[in-house]
Structure formats: structure tokens, C-alpha cells
Amino acid sequence: MTIVNVVGAGLAGLSAALELGNAGVSCRLVSAQASERAQSVLAEGGINAVLDLMGEHDTLREHYEDTMRGGAYLADPNAVWGLVSDAPLIVRRLADLGVPFQQEHGAMIQRNFGGQKKKRTAYVKSSTGKVLVSALVDAVRRLEDKGVVTRAWHHELMDLELADGACEGVWVRDTHTGALELLGGPTVLACGGMGGLFGNLTTGTTTNTGNAAAIALARGVELANLEFLQYHPTTMPLSVKRMLVTEAARGEGGRLFALRRGEPWYFMEDKYPELGNLMPRDVVSREEEAVLKDPSCGGQVYLDMRGLSAHVWRTRLSDLRDEVRHYQHLDPAKEPLPVEPGIHYCMGGILVDERHRTNVARLYAAGECACAYHGANRLGGNSLLGAIRGGMVAARTLLDEDVSAQGRTQTRAAVSADTPASTNASLQTNTNDVERAMQKALVGCMGITRTQQELEAGLRSLEALPHTARVALARATVACALARQESRGAHQRSDYPHTSDDFRRTTVVRWQGDQPSIEFRALPEPRKEVPQA
């Protein structure tokens, strides 16, 4: 009997294990750390689903349109339609698993979130990710007790084992003993985004290294849209990382301002009267960048939460208030909070189709490591949804397609025979000095607004570094940003300031010879049932 590998035990991995286990298929849940340490626990604001609990006549079509528009029309329309269509059932299932979604007068409520006109985000204070993980960990534990899910604790991904264009398994290292082991079987990668390429300048965890994407690239797996890097508009510097201030702060009424010639200027409300502070994150971060560069604005943006009611602070954001008081020694109910844009999420990653298949047979990807739903910019509240739905769909596809040996012949696209000299040495983590140089080059050219000159300089610095899988991934990322000669969503080029229809295509990157090779691939045609966005 085949055992399926699920690599990563955050929400996407837990969701895949739950789906496989409930179908009676044996699954090995591999993770470097316990699920409680996964980046999913840092997700704060909530999960989007059209439940229409707030009397606003919300519809699937609107969730679809908001997601497509928010992603600057670069997401796979069929995948997004599937995402929004499954969302209501996913949230109800989570409630059945014991997630205590926020209630008022005994009934579940939803909140506003960026880029969406209706209250569509189900939540638990500003600790939604943590509470979801707690419920899913228990649900998966039930399957562990039945013996259908086994845990490979403290094991990290080292390599993929491919043969004849199909995934035969994964090489993992026991971080406690150092032992290397090949775990055979079809594999779902659910190991988080590649924010770790940017070191401690992100809101993420230290375990989201990006190594999975680097290994995948080295082994001929196609990656996509690596240029789309989400800068979250409200982060604060913390020692050795950035700390997120949830978008829910604005969803509940928080306002961004700067002191222009000494007077408060609520710039988002001035410029975008309809959605104001709740414009999609790419837009808000861009506006903040402009304000920060404006000499009359004092070089600082503030988040003003002084207008929030005591009821909102007590019932919905008490955890955020505690956190800000603890780390910033400031009470956000009484004083404006200095904030700035910070690297938060990778829209790009391992390219999957709407059924979460990669270009390699028997290899699937879900969660932030996959490029699936978010196009050029992700809406808040869609990442928890995408992670859970992605794990579920990857597992279902795998169940449909594979599980037995017959899957081995179902290669959809040949894996490049021309992968880099991918000995284990080249997959090794960078030495500290190479890692630092790589981060410096990336940070220097992958800001909110980019130019050809900076990107070319960044690429040259990266090419001068020793060849490792991580450096190759960094080169591929910059190459994507160079190739996209337009501005769209989270990818803004001052030398190509307009959005171009010619570039309404997926940036697909693979490693060829000794360099990244880029192709712009047409988006899938929407199926009949999918609305016209």
C-alpha cells in the first residue's frame, strides 16, 4: 500500500493529512517542527468565505471578483472560482472541528478586510491562524490514533527523488540525529513560502527558509510569479524580524495617516474615498512608500486606532493591543502607532494547476509554497483559506490520480534533463557570508518599486556568488522581476509604470543549464460556470 508524504505540518499540510486520512489513505506528515511552530499560527485577521451573516447580500461572484481584481487578474480563474465556492463549506467544517469563530449574541460574525466591500472575513480576535491550527492538530491526532497518519517529527526536506519525470519520494534529514532517509511515495509539498530568502526582514518564521522552492527549482520543477512579493502595509520593526499589525486593525476602523507639514493627513481616505484604508495591500504599501518619500510628510506613517470603541478592543482586538503594548510600550487605543511596509507573503512559488499538480507527476504543492490563487497580490483572509483548500484539493487529486503504481506513468511534462549539477552539495544551505550577500542583493533590488538598473545590478551580484540552490532561487526571482516589463499588483516598475495586457500571463521559471529560463504562459481559459471578471 502506498504511503503519501505530506511535507510541512502547518495548515496546508494538516488539511492534506486530514483529507487523506479520512479517506483511509496512509499518510506521513513530515515536519521540521511541531505544527504549533508553523507560520500558520502567525496569521491573524481571519478567513474569507461567503456566509452572508452580516445582512449585506454577499455572493460567491463578489468574492471571486474581489479576489481576481485584488490579484490584478493574474490568478487562474478556475482555481479562484473553486476557492471561493468551497470556502463556505470549509469554514463550517472548521466550526464543526471546534474553531470558536467570533460571535455576537450567540451568532457567528464576519469583519471587513482589505480589497473587499462586504464583511466576509470569519475570525477569532486577531489570532485566527493559531486557533485554526489548534483545532486541526486535534483533528489530525484522531487519525494518528487510528494509525492512518504518522508523524515524522523533526525531519527537514533535503531533496526530491525523481525518476522518469515522476516523484518517487523525498529525502529528509532527522534534525535530532542527522540521519538521512528516503521516504518513498507521492508527495504533497506544503512547506511554506520563500520569504526566508530575505532573512530577518520579513514578518515570517525562521523555518520558512525557502529551501523547498530552491530544491524544487534545482530538480526541474516549474516555479511561477516569483516577482510578486507582498509588502504588508502595517508592520513594525522588532529585534531580528518584523512584526505584523493585522489588517483587522483597519477592518475594525483603524486609519493610516502621516504628518504633512505638521498636520495629520489621512492619505488613503483622501485618495481612495470608497475603500480608503482597506484598499488591497499592494496599493496601500505603494501609497505609503510615496508618502515616506515626500519630504513634507516627515518620513513616518502612523496607524490611528484611537477611534475604535472599547467594545471592539475588548472583544475583537484585545490580543493585538496586548502585543503592541508588550513590544512597543505603547497603547494603540491611546496613541498612534508608527508603521511601515514589510515583506509578508510570496504570491509566487511552485506552479500548480487548479488541482494542485506540479509539472512533475506524483508531486503536488499547497499553501504558501504553491503559486495558486493570489495572482499579483493576495487579499487578506485568502491565505488561510488558500492553505486549507489547497491541502484538501491536492489530497483529493492525489487520491483520484495516483496512490498506486499506475500513477508513475502519468507524466504530464518532462522534467528537464538539464538540471544543474544537482549533487547534494549544491543543495546545501549557504554559508553565513553567502547568505548575507544574497539577502543584500535581493533587498537592494526587490523593493516595492523596482527598476531595470537595480534589478540588473542585483542579478550581477547574485551571479558572482557560489552556486547553491538558494542562490539559484534568488537569481530566478530577480530574473522574473526583470522579465516582467510592466507594473501590476505587487510588482511595480518605475521604468514601466503601466499595466500591459501583453503581460497578463503567468511568469514560469525553470532552471536550464546554468541559468533561469523564463516563459510567459497564457492563463487557463475560464470554464463556462466561472463568472466573467
Binding site: Q33, A34, E36, R37, A38, Q39, V41, L42, A95, D96, L97, G98, V99, P100, Q103, H105, G106, V124, K125, S127, K130, V131, S134, A135, D138, A139, R141, R142, E144, D145, R151, W153, H154, H176, N200, T205, T206, T207, L238, S239, V240, K241, M243, E323, Y327, T431, N432, D433, R436
Partner: protein, 234 residues
């Protein structure tokens, strides 16, 4: 700011532990023990206070903002999260770091906490059918969902050891969530688990109350869980 970190080191479980000290200097007033460990390990070569070349310091970390529980260790004798312990919280120049003592040591400050998961599996911490959460139990379910499974509570517990069945507060908190929303047909089984995994073994020292890095309201969860599981007041 200048601090000397004295770290109880061993390269593996079998080797003899020894103290090794590292000098860490920073201008960052927010710097924590975690900051120091990250930055020491990022040096091209790590040297101890005597100038001797040292291996990177093994420790577990992930979120670095007290939301994941990875970096729990014993700091100046108290179980805490390294990311939640500012270097300026003590005026002493020397800070002692030791691994949590209730778990098997893997190397340096890294321990194997898998017993936490084994205990929860033994206690049957899951729902067999859909949760039934009454509005008046919402705050218990939320509070109990916040447990980091870091193990700090077990470090100070006089009754917990990896050998016995008592799961300590690290088992009580997840059970409190399930008890708050258990469907009627699972209440008896969960109550029995609670009685054996928590209630029967707890000597009520409540030392755990003061060390939880998530500040979980242990009193509230204990009294509610006792009411349900022991006194059958659901």
C-alpha cells in the same frame, strides 16, 4: 549593552554537559536572548569569551515573537521563551541558559518535546463528531486554543515527569477546549481522560500559573474543566 551568555552545552545526549560563555554586544534596546542567539550563530566564525572556536549553538526557534513556543528554555533558572526575554530585563551582565530539564536533551538548548504529543494522544484529545459550542463557553474555547505546547508549565510542575501518565497543564489546556465544546456522546470519555491525565495527577501546587508565556488563564480553565469533567456540570 553588553551581556555574557553562559550556555550549558553538549554536542549530543550522550556527552557530558559543560558551560561555555559568549560575549554579545548590541545597541538594540529591544534585543532579546533570541536576538543574541540568532546573531551569534550568524557570525562567520563563532568564538567563546576565551577566543576558542565554537560550534553553532543548537536551539529551536521559529516565530521569534512569542506565538509559537519553539524557543522555550531555562533562563537564569526560570522557564521562558528566549524571544520574550529582553536582555535589558536584568541588570546582571551574565545570563545563564539551560535546556528545559523535563525533556530529553538532543544537543545544547535543543530538547525533544515529543512526549507532549504522546500525552495528548493518550488522553484522546480530539472530537469524534461536530463540536457543540454554547455561547457561554466561547471564552474558554478561545483561551484554551492559545496553548503553545512549549512545555514551560511542565518545567516547574512537581508532579510531571516523562515517565508517568500525568500530562500537566500542557494536557489540561487542550482538554479544556474539548470539554467546552464536546458533543453529548463524547462527554463521558473526555471526562474520564481528564480525570486520569490531569485531575488525578495534579498536586495543586499551581506553580504553572506564573510561567505560561501565553498568559493563559489557567484558573479559569481548571475550574471550568473540573466543573464539567469531575462534577458533571456541563
Amino acid at each position: 549593552m553588553r551581556r555574557v551568555l553562559e550556555i550549558l552545552r553538549r554536542s549530543d545526549a550522550a556527552s557530558q554537559p559543560h558551560w561555555q560563555s559568549f560575549l554579545y554586544q548590541t545597541d538594540d534596546e529591544q534585543a532579546t536572548v533570541a536576538t543574541a542567539l540568532v546573531e551569534l550563530n550568524e557570525q562567520d566564525e563563532l568564538h567563546d569569551v576565551d577566543g576558542a572556536l565554537a560550534e553553532p549553538i543548537m536551539w529551536e526557534n521559529s516565530c521569534l515573537q512569542k506565538k509559537c513556543g519553539a524557543c522555550a528554555m531555562v533562563i537564569d533558572g526560570v522557564p521562558r521563551l528566549a524571544c520574550d526575554t529582553r536582555l535589558d530585563s536584568t541588570r546582571h551582565e551574565r545570563i545563564r541558559l539551560e535546556p528545559l530539564r523535563k525533556f530529553p536533551v538532543v544537543a545544547d538548548l535543543l530538547v525533544d518535546r515529543s512526549v507532549l504529543m504522546r500525552n495528548l494522544a493518550q488522553a484522546g484529545t480530539w472530537l469524534e463528531s461536530a463540536a457543540e459550542l454554547p455561547a457561554k463557553r466561547w471564552d474558554v474555547a478561545y483561551e484554551a486554543s492559545r496553548c503553545l505546547q512549549c512545555g514551560c508549565c511542565l518545567e516547574v510542575c512537581p508532579n510531571f515527569s516523562v515517565q508517568n501518565a500525568f500530562g500537566g497543564m500542557a494536557a489540561m489546556v487542550p482538554l479544556a477546549r474539548l470539554l467546552s465544546e464536546a458533543p453529548a456522546d463524547q462527554r463521558r470519555a473526555l471526562a474520564a481522560s481528564y480525570a486520569s491525565a490531569v485531575y488525578g495527577g495534579c498536586g495543586k501546587s499551581l506553580a504553572c500559573r506564573n510561567v505560561c508565556p501565553a498568559n493563559i488563564d489557567i484558573d479559569k480553565l481548571l475550574s471550568r474543566s473540573n466543573a464539567a469533567a469531575i462534577w458533571h456540570r456541563w
